[in-house]
Amino acid sequence: MLLPYFQWVSDTRVSQAISQSSWAFAVIESVHLLALAVIGGAVLMLDLRLLGLGLREQPIARVARDAFPWFVGSLIVMLVTGFGLFMSEAIKCYYSTPFWVKMTSLLLAMTFAFTVRRKVALAGEGHVRPIWRKAVAVVSLVLWFGVGASGRWIGFTA
């Protein structure tokens, strides 16, 4: 169903340019990796705090607010560079199981981060029971790990 769209993407000039260049993919991928480190840190700061670890002396909402711009900033870089990587091999992605696993978990992880997790983090200590905060952190970590692991696996499948 989506194949014509993927075909169109892979026929675009940008896609052709990236896949024909010997270094473009490597450079985009490096930026993707650098943003991965930042988003990893930003996600961990808040999830550790929700688990009752990490910056325990700080109010949860404070940690959430400090981490938020780095989370959103690195997420934007991830999405832009990720789309660049996707463009260069759109047809390969269409037939790649890890790619679809990654896109599904990415959609879930982002939705969760901007709705439930954000609400719980900003609600303040008194409003949500610790057990639910921990559950939110675990779900977040599992979802983002799924994104990272399946993303890495796209590169291992021919």
Binding site: L33, L34, L36, G40
Partner: protein, 189 residues
């Protein structure tokens, strides 16, 4: 002194061959190396950004260290072990990779930067612990760390590409010299 004979010996050990030829083990080790980046470098970047005074400015530096230092150390250990395994799987090509060598140099510089930081401005942390924006020397250490780790990640990623591999000749003389390629002299039979 060349470590090439050692790397050749290492490459011939059964463990190295097994890891090199494994279907799942090598990708698993590599994925671990890449994903632990989130834990180790993720936390390290937050430290550096705090040193620069751009985030978590209400959190004292010592608190950040006390609460997150162990996560960074644990992540670093996983990075070192998985990284050593990746080298163990492909010793000769890694040793003769210009990217690997540049990564090694940048790693030493990052270590040196951390060492100097601990020996100097970090000694007087009581004076600036809670400052939203730490003193110049601390900010400089944070900035240097960010630059060096960026280089380490990029160089590390580039090891996977074979543009400058020794078996891809001819290469510019400087590349062969820096990568330690053993190339027959031109004009000889």
């Amino acid at each position: 002194m060349s470590l090439l004979p050692f790397c050749e010996w290492l490459a011939a050990t059964p463990g190295s061959i097994a890891l090199h030829e494994s279907v799942y083990m090598y990708p698993l080790v590599e994925s671990t190396h890449v994903l632990t980046l989130c834990v180790f470098l993720g936390v390290a970047v937050m430290f550096d950004l705090r040193l620069l005074g751009v985030t978590f400015t209400t959190v004292p530096m010592t608190q950040l260290k006390r609460r997150l230092g162990r996560w960074m150390t644990a992540g670093f250990l996983v990075m070192v072990v998985s990284g050593a395994m990746l080298f163990y799987a492909v010793p000769v090509r890694s040793y003769q990779s210009i990217w690997f060598r540049m990564k090694a140099v940048a790693l030493v510089l990052a270590g040196l930067n951390a060492f100097v930081f601990h020996r100097t401005i970090d000694r007087r942390i009581a004076e600036w612990d809670a400052d939203p924006v730490p003193p110049h020397a601390a900010r400089l250490a944070g900035a240097r760390s960010l630059v060096l780790w960026t280089a380490i990640v990029v160089f590390g990623r580039m090891i996977a590409y074979n543009w400058f591999d020794c078996d891809k000749q001819p290469q510019p003389r400087i590349v062969n010299a820096l990568a330690g390629c053993v190339v027959p002299a031109e004009g000889l039979p």
